[in-house]
Amino acid sequence: SGEATDKTVNSAAGNETSNESSASSDILYIGMTNAPASFNVINTADIAGRWVQRFMYDSLLTMPTTTTFEPGLADSFETEDDQNFTIKLNEKAVWSDGTPVTADDVVFTLNYIANPEVETARGTNIAMLEGTTAAGKLEEGLTEIPDLVAVDDKTVTLKTKNPVDPAYIKEFLGFELMMLPKHIVESIPAKEYGNSDACNNPTVTSGPYTFVQYQNGSYVELAANPDYYKGEPELKKVFIKIMNGTNLVTEFQSGGIHMAAGGGIGVVPVQDLDILRNDPNIQVDANPGFNSQFMLINNTKYNQKLRQALAYGINRQLIVDNLLKGEGEVLSSVYALASPYMNEDLKPIEYNPEKAKELLAESGFDTSQEIKLIVPIGNKVREQSANLIEQDLEAIGLKVTQTTLDFPTVMATVKTHDFDMCLMGFGYTVEPDMSTYYASTGSMNFGQINDAHLDELIEKGTSLTSFEERKAVYDEFQQYMQDNTFILGLYSDYQIAAKNKILNGGITSYWSGSLADIQNWNLNGAQ
């Protein structure tokens, strides 16, 4: 369209590959493969939704890398005893309606989450605070969280049940929770917040961008917040377009998007990655990430020897080399590559079918039994890997049949433990505690792992507060996990960050924290 190209004339992006969409140099177009389910900051489980929320809502802290915290709404987040924390809020921080962000807002948000009436998915983020249950709800008889105090307009103090690793509370409470505007939310009945306009079409937010509109399933439109306390963002508008993986490639090539959302919600299909790599305008980075693929094993059916046999018997390197095109690594144990707690000394079990056969024989497993391998649909590489895994297992003498199922069905199946083996991907956090997945009581312990020593290690890991002490415990934990192969880590794919080179900014190595400096992003990058 003529009109659009006129606007291109002055723009730095005026090269022939960028067509109409990159017309204006202050509009950022992002491609995302998952549609955001909702903008409810206290009750969203989906990553896409939470990622979009970050544009609009601020958390107390930002987290540019896995180990560093920087000020967000909070200028500081201090403790002396690992139990009592003092949070000082930014003086300039205001809500987009002009009201200052105050200590009351913070206290309100935390209490709101703890309120039994309020439906939330974020209970766990405050469950370390005194006066809350394991689910993060107020203990019986309480009406608000004790020791959570707004000392003055811009200072909050709070206290945890036990001493905690500061990094843990900073990540969970400081970084993962986004703050709600009290003056807006308090007037809405607690049960109806999720359905309210204030939640779904948020107008009062504190982040770098304000919400303009969400066209369901199509795009989210955001506008720069001129009053942002870190300074008005350079990119005046952001459009987050929803598309499928293949379209990320075509949109990159046609100039329709500047970056892919990355992180599991905007990933360029690995088989098409070369197309982008060969495109001079596009920059593709691959970083270790937190998303990993596993094979769940039903521990009640398969003993340690057999599980180990699986580890030896599956040629995981082949999967990484061919299906992932080398864009990932074989997992040594359960921690993802990007985790600071990763046990660097632990090497993955090498592919060794002979060893596998030996172990299999030792395990006493009746190989005439049919093993049902459940494969959730939706991840092409994983589906293909299942075919290789099946061949490998048959090569060592097992009988495998695959069943592909859609995700809800897979969930229903693994929850009832009605499976033998199942491929599944997990996206971990920096915090190394994995009790939900592997503790015998964990809600996501689909493989029915029940090992006293493991429980003990998990327990120990959470009770410590310094990184070094914890790392030692978790190193052992990883070793133990590998030795027993309660679950078989297959591979961890690299986080692919793809962007047009004109974009200064974009996804960084720690994906969740990528938006920390979004106000400084611009489209004046090199061509």
């Binding site: 490639v249 075509t250 589906e383 299942a386 099946e390 069905t409």
Partner: protein
């Protein structure tokens, strides 16, 4: 030529002229089916199609004998272009495309032919009944088609499969039992006016039972519509099977079908740079559908005595 000498009265009892005719009859005394087969054989396109179709079925049946490699095993490099060893190249995990194509015929042919056969039977029967009887019967059947046409297809399939369990027969039956409403309505539409033509009255007067009127008198007149619907149904079923397999019903993954071979190749890179991964499957589907279409046409022409 001596005309005059033959200007004598002939002996009519000795009918010279009829000998030749008797000869023609001798050829035709054969059964009705022979007649039709004979006519069909005269249609070159149809015959060629029939031969191809038989070859296709033979290939499916003899897959273990004729396919160069096991279909589900990694036997070569990943995504390798066709060469002497792998005539049609290999797929994303190094399986031989040709062998998969041959084995895929089994699934695709069973599913497509099976499901189309089922829904043609249901759709035709209900369509005939609906159009012919009219009134309440018609209304009731039409409402049922509406109900069937309203549900989200995949949802229904999901439920059915969770109830029956996945297998290629399930796909066949599910596609068969869900696919009939459009055909039913098409046939009903035709029957609505065919039944006003006098030959239906004539059939009634002859004493044909209602079912014979439906299946012996009206059916031949809606055959062309059924054929169109069925040939397209076959293409559809082959492709739908692929998406169903993705949902976990139908063929279990390593097994090949033409549809899932195509669906697996669904990527920009494959489309633009690895034609061997989708062109053969695409062509064989097209060929199968065309072949079925020409056989159908030929058969109809033979039954209806149409000459080309």
């Amino acid at each position: 030529m001596e005309i005059s000498s033959k200007l004598r009265f002939a002996d009519l009892a000795n009918n010279h002229g009829y000998e030749v005719i008797e000869n023609i009859n001798a050829n035709k005394e054969g059964s009705y089916f022979k007649t039709i087969a004979g006519r069909f054989a005269k249609n070159k396109v149809a015959m060629l199609s029939l031969i191809l179709f038989i070859l296709l079925i033979l290939a499916a049946v003899l897959a273990p004998v004729i396919s160069p490699y096991p279909p589900n095993k990694t036997v070569g490099n990943f995504e390798a272009a066709p060469d002497r060893e792998f005539r049609l190249g290999t797929d994303e995990i190094g399986r031989d495309v040709l062998s998969r194509l041959i084995y895929g015929a089994r699934v695709s042919l069973i599913v497509s032919m099976g499901s189309v056969a089922i829904y043609v039977v249901i759709g035709t029967t209900l369509g005939l009944i609906s159009g012919y009887f009219g009134g309440i019967t018609d209304a009731a059947i039409m409402r049922i088609t509406e109900v069937f046409m309203s549900y989200p297809y995949f949802m229904v399939i999901l439920v059915l499969v969770s109830l029956i369990g996945p297998s290629i027969w399930t796909v066949t039956f599910v596609l068969g039992f869900l696919g009939w409403p459009p055909l039913c309505r098409l046939i009903r539409g035709q029957v609505l006016y065919i039944k006003t033509i006098d030959f239906i009255s004539a059939a009634k007067a002859t004493g044909y039972s209602t079912s014979s009127i439906l299946f012996k008198q009206i059916l031949p007149n809606v055959l062309s519509i059924i054929l169109v619907n069925a040939t397209f149904g076959i293409a559809n079923a082959i492709l739908t099977e692929a998406s169903l397999s993705f949902l976990g019903m139908g063929v279990r993954p390593p097994a090949a079908s033409w549809g899932n071979m195509l669906a697996n190749a669904q990527s920009l890179t494959v489309l633009s740079m690895q034609p061997w991964r989708w062109v053969p499957a695409g062509i064989i589907i097209l060929a199968a559908v065309l072949v079925v279409n020409f056989i159908g046409d030929g058969l109809r022409d033979a039954v209806e005595g149409e000459t080309k």
